[in-house]
């Protein structure tokens, strides 16, 4: 379970570099606009452009290649699955056919074409998301969501959950190791029973911690109202320049994305 700590990408977002210093609202504008263009792209050029640009940006702030690859592995596998399903189901023109265990497998050209297009979108989209998450902390994200008028209840819950996930993960990891070292995972049946105990303890600890947290909040004056206090500063010249830059680039990207080509 410890691996999750290293997999959470905001470990890198706490570093001080030129991308983490960019205003979170600008990054959010970029991420959402570029994801939309990626979604509508009719060719593979735009998603692959986003993929390469994201890699360049992430390498420029010295994100380890293994961290990037680890984040992209699962989406790539999902893209491969879609490529296979599309290749087998869509189109008529046979690209490749071969027998496996007595079954004739036929991959069709149109399906593979469409699968590759979706695969490129997966890579382009996920690279944009990880570029955002590798450079933005949850507190900055919450502040930006508040600025975008997302309901306070959602942001408060997001902040709460994120804050306590790591704490509970640490507690569960310790209990998990204790169970393992005391033959709690000696057989499959015992493992499942141990997991049940672990889950039960998790619920009990969460409940107790919620009571303690509320008491701590109550003595500080909390009575069920809003708890978000972080506000973002007004935009400066740099933010306006980035925003105008994006507005100028967008039509070009939309036009390029609409060209029917590979």
């Amino acid at each position: 379970m410890e691996f999750l700590h290293h997999t959470f990408s905001d470990v890198y977002a706490r570093q001080n570099n030129w991308l983490t210093r960019v205003d979170v609202r600008v990054k959010l504008f970029y991420a959402i606009s570029l994801l939309s263009i990626n979604l509508w792209a009719k060719n593979m050029f735009i998603p692959l452009l986003f993929l390469s640009a994201s890699f360049i940006l992430l390498f420029s702030i010295k994100i380890p290649p293994m961290a990037i690859l680890r984040s992209m592995l699962l989406p790539v596998l999902f893209a491969m699955l879609i490529l296979l399903v599309k290749g087998l189901h869509e189109g008529e023109k046979v690209w490749l056919s071969f027998p496996i265990l007595g079954y004739k497998v036929v991959l069709k050209e149109e399906g593979l074409h469409s699968g590759l297009h979706i695969g490129s979108k997966v890579l382009g989209g996920i690279s944009l998301v990880i570029t955002f998450s590798f450079t933005t902390t949850i507190s900055r994200l919450c502040a930006a969501l508040k600025w975008f008028h997302v309901p306070n209840t959602i942001i408060e819950l997001l902040a709460f959950m994120y804050r306590y996930i790591f704490l509970l993960l640490d507690e569960v990891s310790t209990m998990w190791t204790a169970q393992k070292s005391r033959l709690g995972h000696a057989s499959w049946k015992k493992t499942i029973q141990s997991l049940g105990t672990l889950g039960g303890l998790l619920v009990m600890r969460a409940f107790d911690r919620a009571e303690r947290t509320y008491e701590a909040m109550h003595v500080r004056g909390y009575e069920g109202g809003g708890i978000l206090t972080v506000n973002l500063s007004p935009w400066r010249k740099g933010e306006y320049a980035s925003f105008i830059g994006m507005v100028l680039i967008l039509p070009m990207l939309v036009y390029t994305g609409n060209i029917h080509a590979w």
Binding site: T7, P75, L123, G125, V129, L169, V203, M217
Partner: protein
């Protein structure tokens, strides 16, 4: 055996052995859904998230400690969903992870569970690259809405039938998992309609692949684990279940 299954199985097996032996198969990845379906799934999911938000907002005004409770139980369910469960079909060689929505629906109610699932999916999409932002609506539909409501109703029906607490929890966990995978299969199956493919055939094939690999067994295992969790909490701290409204004070002692 359909051809798709023949080639899809190896990909799933590959996914088990990659990423630290953990399979996260129920999230639809960024970029998979076309724009029309992105909007449709967001339109379907947003009202449920809205109602969940309204529930929490109203309740935290009456009970100020409700927000920390939902946040903490949400975090607990997130951590629960990271439990690596050994998949017996593969002789324990691979692990999979539970959805957790069945348990959160039992603990928090279906609408709040949808909200918690939506936030958990956002965190996973952003910081773990599981799922995606454009596919968030679709993932909320399968995991949040279908998972929570099916689990909650299964639990309520089991309680109505006076089944022991373990079996009520088992049904909640198992049914919510089954519906989550069914939801994902439906979403992926719908993609073939535009190209003239058969929706039912594609959905059945994808659901079949999910069930034939580790996820079919995972549904049963998650049910057992949720059952154990509820019984464990009931034995040690029944007041927690009482406060959350899972058991009633005036009932005779529950069968475990």
């Amino acid at each position: 055996m359909p051809k798709a299954i023949l080639l899809v199985i190896p990909v799933f097996f590959m996914s088990f052995f990659a990423v630290e032996n953990v399979a996260y198969a129920m999230h639809i990845t960024e970029g998979i859904l076309p724009p029309t379906w992105v909007f449709i799934w967001f339109a379907v999911s947003l009202p449920f998230v809205g109602i969940g938000t309204y529930h929490v907002k109203q309740k935290k005004r009456k009970i100020p400690g409700y927000l920390p409770l939902v946040g903490m139980l949400g975090a607990a369910v997130f951590v629960f969903s990271c439990f690596p469960i050994p998949v017996i079909a593969l002789n324990g060689m691979a692990t999979s992870h539970p959805c957790g929505t069945g348990m959160s629906a039992v603990l928090l109610g279906p609408f709040v569970s949808v909200l918690v699932a939506a936030i958990a999916l956002l965190i996973q999409a952003l910081f773990l690259a599981h799922g995606g932002l454009t596919t968030l609506g679709g993932n909320i539909f399968s995991m949040g809405i279908l998972g929570s409501f099916s689990g909650y109703f299964a639990f309520k029906v089991a309680q109505r039938c006076r089944l022991p607490l373990f079996w009520s929890g088992f049904l909640a966990g198992m049914v919510s998992d089954l519906f989550t995978y069914l939801g994902t299969s439906i979403e992926l199956g719908l993609l073939v309609i535009e190209k003239g493919g058969s929706f039912f055939k594609a959905t059945a094939e994808i659901f079949g692949v999910f069930m034939m690999t580790s996820q079919g067994i995972l549904c049963v295992v998650e049910g057992i684990v949720v059952g154990f969790v509820l019984v464990f909490v009931y034995k040690r701290r029944p007041n927690i279940l009482l406060n959350l409204g899972i058991i009633k004070n005036d009932t005779k002692p529950l069968q475990q």
